[in-house]
Subunit: 474 residues, 3 copies
C-alpha cells in the first residue's frame, strides 16, 4: 500500500448522465446488456496469441508498446519513442528497461485525463488486475510488478482471458498473402474459442502502398494466377476470398485514403490495370484503380456473401521523420475530410439495390454523419453505418454519432459496436463503454418521452448483441 | 382493444430536458406559445385539398404514400416500394391492398424509434385520431380502420382540419407554369382559410432539369414573351412573379445544387443565356446560369418585395435504378457539402446592403451553421436564417441549429419555424416540436442564468409567431 | 431608479449546469480558480492606454465604437454604422451625439439575448460600473451617465483598471513597422503592470494586403536591410523579431487566409520572392509566398524562442460597399472552411520534431477540431491548440472545443484561454466565462465518474493559469 496514493474506483454509474431521471433509466437499461456476450466483428488482435497461448511478457510489452493511442500522447508532450522502447523500422529497439518505460508512462498519466485511454486503462487495471490505487509516479512500481507477475499465471494466458471476457466471437484482420496458419492452429487445437479472420487486401489494391510491387508478385505465387492480367488478378482475389471464407471470414475490409468508387467499362479497367502494373501511373491513376477495385469487391461480395467494410479517410504516416525511423502505425495517422455522396455513386448505382449485398461504412470525418452518411444509410438498402471509429471511439464521439445519425438512419441502419483494437485487454472495457453510452443515449430519449422504456431496452440489446451478429453474418 | 398492445402516451413534458430546473422553466415558457396560431410560411401541401375539400382515401394514401421520410426508411431495410404501392414514374402502381401496405409499415415501425417521423406520427395518431395504443403488428388493423373511417367524416375534410389545427396562414409552392387555379378556387369559394402560393421557378432556371426545354417553351407561351431572348426571359419572370403576388405570394424559393451566385455584365449574361437555350452548354455553364439568375431574382425582389429563399445543397435522385423506375422525390435525395461565403458574395455585393431586400438561407450542411451562416446573418442586413431543414428537422437538429447560430446571429436573425412538408396532418406536430425545442433551449439558457425568464418568454413567442410573419411579410 | 426597469443580476452559478450534482462540483472547482491572476497572452488592447493612462471619453467611445461584435449585430438588423458614429475609411465620422448612439444600442439590446456579447456587457455593467438594472430604452440615459461619469474618476483610468482586474501580464499585438514607443514608455514609467508585445508581420508577409508595397518599403527603411532581396528580407524579420523580443515579446502571430505552409528549395524561394516584389504575381504566387514565410518564421522561432501562432481561415472585408466606405475590421469578416493536415505538412516535416519549437494553432472552422486539430496536437510535439476563437468564443463554442478535442489531444495539448480582445473592460468577463465553462466541463466529467475531483481541480487551475504562462513562455 502506498499511503499517498489515491483510490482507483470504477464507479457503477460511470458514463451515465448525472441527472437522476436519466441515470435511473440508464441503470435499468444497462442491467439488460451488461453481461451479454461480446461480439467483436472487427479488430486487430493477433491470432498468434490464441494459437500459441503464450504468456504476455510484462506490463510495458502488453499495455504500452502496442498501443499507439498511448504512446502518441506521450510523444506529443516530448517523450521520445525510444524512451518507451518502441520498435524501429529496421527492427532494432532502444535498450530500455521495461520498468523504466512504465515509470515514464506513470509520470505522465495526467496527460490522459478525460480521454478514452484513461477509461480503458483504469478498467483493465481494476477489473483484470485487481488494482485499487490510481496509477501515478508513486504507484508505478507496484503496478508494474502486479501486472507482470499476474501475466505469468495461467489465468492471464490469452485463451483464459478470452473466456473470462465472455467473448463469443472475435474477428482478426489479415492481408491477402497471409496463410492463416494461426487460424488453422486454433481450429485444429480443439479449443472452443471462436476466432475468425477478415480479408483486408490493401497491399495488393493500393498501388501507392510501399509493399505493392512485392505483394502483387507474391499474390501471383500464392494463387497460381497471372496477377498481371486484369482477369487473373480478379480471379486471384476470388480465390483468396474463398480461402479466407473457409477459415471463418464473413467480411472484407478496405482502408483507402478516400471513399472513391468507379464502375469502368471492362476495356478501360483492363487498360488502367496494365498501366498500374507497368509502374508508369500517377496519383489519379492510383485513386481510380482503388476506386474500381472497390466496385469489383462489391461484385464478389454478391457472389460469396462476404460483408464489405470501407474504412476511408486517413492520411497515413503524417510525420516523415518518424516514419523513416520507426515505420508505420506509430500514432502519426491523421483524419482527412472525406466525401461519400459522389464517391459512392458508381458502386451504388451498380449494386446498391441488390438484396443480398451489404456494405458497412465508417468515417473519420464526423461532419458527414448528419449530412451524408445518415441520409445514405436511411435510403440505400445495402448500406449500414459502422460505429464511431478510431479517433471518435470515445464517449463524446459515440454521443455525436448517435445524435447525428439517429434522425435519418435510425438505430437499425447501424451495426452496434466494433472495438477495432489490437489492445486485447481493453476489449471488455471498450464494449462496456459502448453499451453504457448507448444506454445513456436511450435513457435520455426515454426521459424526454421520445421512446418508451420497453422499446429502449430492446434497442439496447439489439445494439449490444443482435445487430453486430446479424450485420456481419456471424 | 388489443390486450397485448402497449399504451400510446403523448407526454405533456415530451422533449423538455429531464433536469427539474430546466423542465419547470420549459413548461412555463411553453404555456405561452402552445396555443398560438400556426404560421406556415414555407411548405408543400397540395392546394387542391383546400380547393376541392374532398375526403382523403384511407390511412395508407394519407400517411404512407406521400411521405418519403417514411418509405425511404422502409426501403433502407429492404421493403420494396411496390409493397407500399408507391406510384411509378410511368404512372402505374403495383396492385397492393392499402391495408396490406399499412401492415408492412406496422411490422417495421421499430425502425423509426427515436426518429422525428415516429414523433410526428404518434402525435397524429393520438391527437387527430384519438388512438391510445401503440402501432405495431397487432394493432395495425385497428389503426387502419380507425383512421380510414374517420377520414370519411366531415371533421376530417381538409378545410375542417385546417381550422382545427389553428392555421392562420399556410404557403404552398408552385412552379412558374402553374395557373394557380386551386388558389383562385379557394379565394372564390368564400372559405376564410388563408392559403397563399410561393414562386418556385426551378424548372425554367435549371438547364439540367429534365423538364427544362419543355418548361421554357411553355413559359414563353404563358407569358407571351420571347423567353429565348435574355430580356424577354427576365420579363417573363417579372410577369409571373406579379401574377403569383396577386394570388397571395410573399416569397420566392430556389432549390439549387449549390448556393453559387454571379453578377455578370449584361453582355456576358446575354451570351451565356444564348448558349443555354442553344442546348450546347456544359455543367459549368449551367452552374453559372443558375448563379446569375439568383442575382436577377434578388434584383426583382427589390422591386416587387417578394422575400427570397434559397434551399441549396442537395444531390437529387441519387439512386439511378430507383429514379428510372419511380421518378423524382422518392427518398433518394442526399445532402452535399455546401459553401456560402464565396458563393453569395456576388449577389451580396450587388444587393446585400439594400434596406428592403430580404434573403432567407437554408442549409443541409450543418458544418456551415457556426462557420458561415451565423457570421453572415450576424452581419448582412438582408440575410436571415431559415430553420433546421429537412434531414435536420429533428429535435437534435433543431438544438444544433440554435447552439451553433445563437452566438453569432442571435435569435433575431432567424425566422422561426418552417414545416416544409406535404404531410398535412403532421403540421401541428411539427410546429409543436419546434416550439418545445425552442422552449427547451431557452429554458437551459435561463437555468444557466444567461437570460432572464421574461426575456426568454418574449423570445419564445417571437420565434413561434411574430418572426415568421414578419420575415415572410405575411 | 427606474420603476419599470428589470433587475440586473450576475448570478453566482451562471454558466454552470443546472443539474445539482454537476453544479455542486462546478462550484467547488470554480472556487479554486475564480481569483487566480489573469494571464492574457494574446489580444489587441492598445498599449497607448497603459502608456498615457488617459481617461476614456464616454460610454459609447469605450463600449460601442471599438467593439465589432456589438456593431455588426446592430448593422445586421438595419442600424447604419453612421448612427453609431463608427469612423469611416477616410477618417471622417458622422456627427452623432454619443448619447444618441448609446440610445440606439439600448433600444436594440434584445438582439444580443443569449449571445456572449450580452454576457460580457452585463458583467462589465454590474462589476465595473455597479449597475443593478438591466439596460433597455428606459435605462439608457442612466447607463450612459453612470458610465461616462465613472470614467472621469481616477479609479477608471487604464492602469487602475488593469490592477483592479488582477492582470498579471497582457500581450498586445503590433505590426513589424511599429516602433513600440508605447511599450517603451510603459517600461520607462516605473509602473509595475506587465504589458508585452507580439510580432504580427502580416502587412509585410501578405502580398495581397493593400498596404504591402508601402509596408515593405518602410520595412527596409527601418531595418536598413535590402528587403527586396530574399536574404535581406529574412534578415529584416530577424532584426525586428529581436527588437520585439527585447520589448517583452514571447510570441509571433500570423493571420493568413489559409494554413498553407511550404518548404521550397532556397533557389525557388528566392525566385518566388523576386516575382512578389516585382508586383507581377498571381493569387497562387501570393498563397505560396505566405506559405513559405510561415516555414521561415518557424525556423526563426527555433533560434529566438518566440512561440509561433497561426490564426487562419478568415475571409476579410466580405462586404465590398462597407469596406469602401468604412475600411477594415467593421464586422464583415467571415470564416472559411480550412484545411490543416496537408497544409501544415511541409512546415511540420521540416521542424515539427524539434524539441524547442512551439506552434499554437487556432481555427474558425470547428469541423477541424475532432478531425484534424485534435489528432495533430495529440501527435506532434510542437503543436498546441489555442482556445475557441473569435466567432467561437462563446459558452457553446468553448464546450464544443473541449468535447471535440479532449479525446485526442487531452487537456494538456491546449493552452488555456486567450481573450483576443480590444475591448479592455471585457477582459475579466471573458476570462471568467472561460474558467466557468472549463469548470463546467470538468464537473460533468467528474459527475459521470470519468475523472476524480482532485484531478479536475488540478486541470482547472492548469487551464486558468499554468498552461497559458508555460505555453507562451511568459
Amino acid at each position: 500500500m502506498n499511503a499517498q496514493a489515491k483510490p482507483l474506483v470504477l464507479h457503477e454509474d460511470r458514463l451515465f448522465p448525472s441527472d437522476p431521471t436519466q441515470r435511473t433509466i440508464a441503470r435499468r437499461l444497462y442491467a439488460h446488456v451488461a453481461r451479454l456476450p461480446i461480439v467483436s466483428p472487427h479488430g486487430h488482435t493477433d491470432p498468434a496469441w490464441f494459437a500459441g497461448n503464450e504468456a504476455f511478457a510484462n506490463a510495458t510489452e502488453l499495455l504500452l508498446v502496442p498501443d499507439h493511442y498511448v504512446f502518441r500522447m506521450l510523444y506529443s508532450q516530448g517523450v521520445p519513442l525510444d524512451a518507451l522502447g518502441i520498435p524501429r523500422a529496421d527492427g532494432s529497439r532502444a535498450q530500455v528497461d521495461p520498468r523504466a518505460a512504465w515509470q515514464v508512462f506513470a509520470r505522465n498519466v495526467h496527460l490522459f485525463r478525460g480521454t478514452p485511454s484513461s477509461m480503458w486503462l483504469d478498467h483493465v487495471f481494476h477489473e483484470v488486475f485487481g488494482l485499487r490505487q490510481r496509477l501515478d509516479a508513486g504507484t508505478a512500481d507496484t503496478y508494474y510488478d502486479t501486472i507482470t507477475q499476474a501475466l505469468q499465471t495461467p489465468g492471464f494466458r490469452p485463451r483464459a482471458l478470452f473466456e473470462r471476457f465472455g467473448i463469443e466471437v472475435i474477428a482478426t484482420t489479415e492481408g491477402p498473402l497471409d496463410d492463416l496458419a494461426h487460424h488453422a492452429a486454433i481450429r485444429d487445437s480443439g479449443w472452443k474459442g471462436k476466432v475468425v479472420t477478415a480479408y483486408r487486401p490493401d497491399p495488393v489494391v493500393d498501388p501507392e502502398h510501399e509493399q505493392f510491387t512485392g505483394a502483387l508478385r507474391r499474390f501471383g505465387e500464392i494463387t497460381g494466377e497471372d496477377v498481371y492480367d486484369w482477369d487473373g488478378y480478379l480471379r486471384a482475389h476470388r480465390q483468396r476470398r474463398a480461402f479466407f471464407k473457409s477459415m471463418g471470414a464473413t467480411s472484407t475490409d478496405h482502408g483507402h485514403p478516400s471513399c472513391a468508387t468507379a464502375d469502368l467499362p471492362p476495356a478501360q479497367a483492363r487498360a488502367l490495370f496494365a498501366k498500374i502494373v507497368s509502374g508508369a501511373f500517377d496519383a489519379a491513376d492510383a485513386e481510380l484503380f482503388r476506386a474500381q477495385v472497390l466496385t469489383e469487391m462489391a461484385g464478389m461480395s454478391l457472389d460469396d456473401g462476404l460483408v464489405m467494410q470501407i474504412h476511408p479517410g486517413c492520411f497515413r504516416n503524417h510525420n516523415r521523420g518518424l516514419f523513416e525511423r520507426y515505420g508505420r502505425d506509430k500514432g502519426a495517422d491523421i483524419p482527412l475530410r472525406t466525401e461519400y455522396v459522389r464517391a459512392l455513386k458508381p458502386l451504388l448505382d451498380r449494386y446498391g439495390n441488390e438484396p443480398t449485398f451489404r456494405l458497412i461504412l465508417f468515417t473519420l470525418d464526423e461532419s458527414t454523419y448528419a449530412r451524408e452518411l445518415g441520409p445514405l444509410a436511411g435510403h440505400w438498402p445495402c448500406l449500414f453505418l459502422g460505429p464511431a471509429w478510431w479517433f471518435h471511439d470515445s464517449p463524446e464521439g459515440m454521443w455525436r454519432f448517435r445524435e447525428q445519425t439517429l434522425s435519418t438512419a435510425g438505430f437499425y441502419n447501424t451495426v452496434g459496436f466494433n472495438d477495432d483494437t489490437r489492445a486485447f485487454l481493453s476489449i471488455p472495457a471498450r464494449h462496456d463503454v459502448a453499451r453504457r453510452i448507448d444506454c445513456a443515449v436511450l435513457a435520455r430519449l426515454a426521459a424526454e418521452h421520445r421512446i418508451d422504456e420497453d422499446e429502449a431496452a430492446e434497442v439496447a440489446a439489439d445494439l449490444a448483441y443482435r445487430l453486430p451478429k446479424e450485420a456481419y453474418r456471424l
